[in-house]
């Protein structure tokens, strides 16, 4: 797909609690639809592979979804893929590269049209690059201090915590994990 200006007129995606409403997804395999976002919650039903659902919101590793029969429940986020099922994919079945904010999540926003060319970062553009010292110097003027970073985190109620890394098999790593 090339740069068709009409793609900037993608339907508005409303943002709710970190997930875009009106996004669709489908199950990768037979998946439990849970009553609550917990592994030991009641299973409402089992959704077959490639069941299309509407995504209501994301909550940690869970997605609250609505089935075509309007049943609400939770499925593991990683058991879903966004967009339409592969066989049903057409030009509208993919996630818009313009993303959730292609139009503003706020109702008052106006639709934006693209009036110029797309600014790419293709392999060709990378290979044609000439080092740009002025931009590099400018980048450095935006540097944050550790104090600013910590103050902003505190303001957002983000607290640092100690967590280990995990290996491919899901087991905690000892050598490079555990401590900061």
């Amino acid at each position: 797909m090339k740069h068709e200006p009409w793609r900037w007129l993608a339907p508005a995606l409303l943002l709710m609690s970190g997930a875009a409403a009106a996004e669709t997804g489908y199950t990768l395999q037979l998946t439990d639809l849970k009553a609550k976002p917990f592994l030991d919650a009641d299973t409402l039903t089992k959704l077959p592979e490639k069941t299309e659902v509407e995504i209501v919101l994301r909550q940690g590793p869970w997605m609250q979804v609505k089935t075509k029969s309007k049943q609400l429940g939770y499925v593991r986020m990683l058991q879903l893929r966004l967009g339409s099922t592969p066989t049903a994919k057409d030009s509208n079945g993919w996630v818009s590269v313009l993303g959730p904010g292609a139009t503003s999540p706020r109702p008052s926003s106006t639709t934006v049209t693209m009036t110029g060319g797309v600014r790419g970062f293709s392999e060709e553009e990378l290979k044609a690059s000439k080092p740009n010292k002025a931009e590099y110097d400018k980048m450095k003027t935006f540097t944050a201090t550790p104090e600013q970073a910590a103050a902003q985190a505190a303001n957002s109620k983000l607290a640092a915590r100690t967590l280990p890394y995990y290996g491919e098999d899901g087991k905690p790593l000892k050598d490079q994990g555990g401590k900061k």
């Binding site: 994301r58 966004l82 996630v95 959730p100 970062f121 392999e123 109620k157």
Partner: protein, 290 residues
């Protein structure tokens, strides 16, 4: 670099140097007097560990080439915001004291790049597809992990011109050397068009989740961002370079599903409010290329 590989190159260098010496000696015998020991030492130095100041200098050169392909997004508030969020995330890594710099470039294409020494460039197109600050922190965590594990530095070290490059870096450390920047342009373009080993990307995903979670964010931000990318048409120009240089998002999600399992089910997080992210990123999400 694997020890055997390094040893092979070292032996090759010694052999070439001796052959050159023989040729120069001209009398048929081995003339050790004419072996340029200094040159040999310089070449061998190309195989040693790179010091942190040298790594930073290499990373700065790489960054100049990345920003040469597409300049910074003209948005001071956004640039300061990604630096504050980015530094907070990077401070939770094993290399908290690097001179971390973060930048959003003026590209509609979806991508993000890390350089040795702690420079991270995120495209405007990437910012646009993120839903919230936890997803941004996850993407940053992935890039920070590349720096922590020196993935790009080690890839650049495998470049055949690395020995020569290091001589310039050594001479230039402490002072900015345009020669080093120029010498890095070729290897930078080659590496960032080719990408890292897939195993490096999978590792950066696993570590990125943890680093963002250490910073207090929702650990599922990076998987959520990957889930968005997994739904993008891979034929789209916007993701072509990203998809060429990384494993497919669906493959990354499958690996993460195994590595994360239920390890983070009790780890919640995220900023208290998403208002700041939405407000600051609104301009790049709502305003198209002029």
């Amino acid at each position: 670099m694997r020890p055997l590989h390094a040893l092979g190159i070292l032996l090759s260098l010694v052999l070439v140097t001796l052959l050159v010496a023989c040729a120069n000696g001209g009398k048929g015998g081995l003339n050790l007097q004419s072996v340029d020991i200094n040159q040999l030492v310089q070449n061998v130095k190309g195989l040693r560990e790179v010091s942190e100041p040298e790594e930073i200098q290499i990373g700065d050169g790489v960054t100049e080439t990345l920003l040469g392909a597409r300049p910074l997004q003209d948005d001071v508030e956004l640039q300061r915001y990604v630096n504050v969020v980015g530094l907070w995330v990077a401070r939770q890594s094993e290399r908290p004291n690097l001179p971390w710099h973060f930048a959003v470039n003026d590209s509609d294409y979806i991508n993000a790049f890390a350089t040795p020494g702690g420079n991270i460039v995120i495209t405007k197109g990437m910012i646009r597809v993120l839903h919230n600050e936890s997803e941004l922190a996850g993407v940053i965590g992935h890039e920070v992990s590349h720096v922590v594990r020196k993935h790009h530095l080690n890839a650049i070290r495998k470049n055949s011109a690395f020995g020569l490059l290091m001589q310039g870096v050594q001479a230039g450390t402490g002072n900015r050397s345009q020669d080093v920047v120029n010498a890095l342009a070729g290897p930078t373009k080659e590496l960032y068009a080719r990408g890292l080993d897939k195993s490096d990307e999978f590792e950066a995903d696993r570590m990125g989740v943890v680093i963002a979670a250490r910073a207090g964010y929702d650990p599922w931000g990076l998987p959520a961002a990957l889930q968005t990318l997994a739904g993008v048409n891979p034929d789209d120009d916007y993701v072509k370079l990203l998809f060429k240089t990384h494993p497919a998002p669906s493959a990354r999600l499958e690996k993460l599903a195994v590595a994360l399992g239920t390890n983070f089910d009790s780890v919640t997080g995220g900023p208290q409010s998403n208002d700041q992210f939405l407000r600051i990123t609104e301009r790049v999400r709502a305003v198209a290329a002029k």
